[in-house]
């Protein structure tokens, strides 16, 4: 009995010392405001009005009856699927390349990472110029029709441009995490595989990938959450255009809340998005970890 009490006290002390500070800060910064935010979804508040009126679930109802919400969501899923796949593959390959012992590894790593450091409207503007003028100039010169007009003024091509630029940016980001994972793969294991006659690529497949399962789970999770929340790039590269054909869900929510001044409705859309993405990404983490345990 006494022993158990001591054990429990120890447990509490360990939690208080190791887990509590982070949990406390997180609760005060994320959870409390989040609950407040959920309350706003039940009101007609426009973000500025002095009076707030309770409207029940009217905002949620309007989310599910709004066809543009669904179409925007579908676009976001397409965008996310391609971007997650491309950026993880590229990020992993880049990480392999710069952990293989080639010359100037540090500079390479920094170079691939720079797209992440420059952000915001400047980057969008530079890409805008590339798509609108550099590629079109090239297209006209070689007489290719689909490269002669700006990619950003054509609905499908604008979405492709968005996927390309997002993958370009995110693969450098994921590369860094893959590097951390790959440097953690014991060199002995790789040597052993080589002694057994494995080629370079076989070593990657048989040794490196299984060893970094956890890292892969992390990277996929991060890329899913980031693509679903993608806002900056959407704003600076296409601003939802041409004619709202690339209006991804996070951008649409923002417009609803801050341009149309339907703050409660925007909040409700954001909560719906949150629930969907949380389910997708938690399932992904759950299954990847389960898979890791089974191997």
């Amino acid at each position: 009995m006494n022993k158990q009490a001591v054990k429990k006290a120890k447990k509490i002390a360990q939690f208080a010392g190791f887990g509590l500070p982070a949990t406390f800060i997180w609760v005060t910064v994320v959870i409390l405001p989040f609950i407040y935010g959920i309350w706003i979804t039940l009101t007609d508040w426009n973000g500025l009005a002095l009076d707030i009126h309770y409207v029940g679930f009217a905002n949620y109802k309007s989310v599910f009856t709004d066809p543009t919400f669904l179409s925007s969501f579908v676009k976001t899923v397409i965008y996310a699927a391609f971007t997650v796949a491309a950026s993880n593959i590229i990020g992993f390959l880049l990480a392999l390349a710069v952990t293989g012992g080639i010359k100037g590894q540090g500079l390479f790593r920094a170079g691939f990472f720079t797209p992440n450091i420059i952000g915001g409207i400047i980057l969008g503007y530079i890409w805008n110029f590339i798509f609108s003028y550099a590629i079109t100039g090239f297209g006209k010169a070689i007489g290719v029709e689909w490269m002669s007009t700006s990619w950003l003024t054509h609905p499908t091509r604008a979405l492709i441009a968005l996927i390309l630029v997002s993958s370009w940016q995110m693969s450098g980001y994921l590369m860094v995490i893959y590097i951390a994972g790959l440097t953690n793969v014991p060199a002995e294991l790789i040597e052993a595989a080589k002694v057994d006659g494995a080629t370079g690529w076989q070593a990657v497949q048989k040794v490196k990938i299984p060893c970094i399962r956890n890292t892969i789970a992390i990277c996929v999770f991060l890329s899913i959450s980031r693509t679903f929340m993608s806002f900056d790039m959407n704003l600076s590269l296409t601003a939802g255009g041409p004619y709202k054909s690339t209006e991804l869900i996070a951008y649409k929510i923002y417009q609803t809340a801050f341009t149309s001044m339907e703050f409660g409705k925007g909040q409700a859309q954001a909560i719906v998005l949150f629930v969907i993405v949380a389910v997708i990404s938690l399932l992904q983490v759950y299954f990847t970890r389960k898979g890791a345990e089974n191997t």
Binding site: V30, P33, Y36, G106, G111, F228
Partner: protein, 276 residues
């Protein structure tokens, strides 16, 4: 042997080509910091006709650069230090003690990572600036930055620590180390690569953060670099040339930090201090 060398050279060349493709927008940014906005609009891809450093001088003056740099550094450094400590400890606890409460909190952390910031952005302002009256406080911005980055950091630390065999902990315990001692003496040194990685991400995120900081920092003297650079925005357009110079100046510190950190990771690996 020579075949291996040839392979390595080929790998180097391919990586170099990819790198150049990756860096094109960055090169465009750099060459245009030496032009006027008009020249940038007319010939964005050409080398500057008469390179000059005016844009940098303009950026430093109009952005109030040194004040903004100081503010950004204060927020970033303090937030990163606190975040690293509390997140690494929590990551360790969650990885080693599979208590129900830990699992629940961990899942809640993950879930909150996909919560759109917009949901709690205005409430955040209402609580910290409205009720507690702490707008224009760098400390509050740093505190919120810590909180916003905790789930991400714990997630990475947790994943990494799970890859460290528990035998190490056992051995330490046999040697008489407690839970706390094991963490600081045995585990923390092993976390170097991931600490650097997380630090780079968190630092970069905070350094470049515009949305959250701009909600709290409205006075000229409390602005951070990401806020200050908006001075070049005009309605429907922007003064691109000085803006690009300002952007370049703003990202140099974080780039240096990343390069130094990378070197540190590589050194650690070469020294063989990290073993899975």
């Amino acid at each position: 042997m020579s075949k291996k060398n040839a392979k390595k050279t080929a790998a180097f060349i391919v990586t170099l080509i990819v790198l150049i493709l990756f860096m094109i927008p960055f090169f465009i940014l750099v060459i245009n910091t030496f032009k006027t906005t008009q020249e940038f609009i007319k010939t964005p891809f050409a080398l500057p006709q008469s390179p000059n450093l005016d844009n940098f001088a303009v950026a430093i003056r109009r952005m109030n650069f040194w004040t903004a740099l100081k503010n950004t550094a204060i927020v970033t450094i303090s937030a990163v230090l606190v975040n690293t400590l509390v997140s690494a400890m929590t990551g360790y606890l969650f990885a080693r003690k599979r208590w129900r409460v830990n699992k629940v909190i961990f899942m809640a952390f993950l879930a909150s990572m996909v919560a759109p910031f917009q949901v709690y952005m205005i409430p955040l302002v209402k609580i910290y600036a409205g009720q507690l009256g702490m707008s224009n406080s760098l400390a509050v911005v740093a505190y919120i930055a810590v909180g916003l980055n905790i789930p991400f950091a714990v997630f990475l630390y947790h994943g990494f620590i799970e890859g460290i065999p528990e035998d190490l902990d056992e051995a330490a315990r046999i040697d008489g180390c407690g839970f706390t001692g094991t963490f600081f003496k045995i585990i923390l040194p092993l976390l170097k690569p991931i600490i650097i990685t997380v630090t780079v991400f968190v630092a970069m995120g905070i350094w470049n953060d515009y949305l959250m900081s701009s909600l709290f920092l409205t006075k000229q003297e409390t602005k951070t670099l990401a806020i200050a650079i908006k001075t070049f925005l005009t309605n429907h357009s922007a003064e691109y040339a000085p803006m690009m110079a300002g952007l370049l100046l703003s990202i140099v510190p974080i780039l240096i930090f990343y390069l130094a950190g990378q070197k540190y990771i590589i050194e650690g690996v070469v020294a063989g201090s990290v073993k899975g």
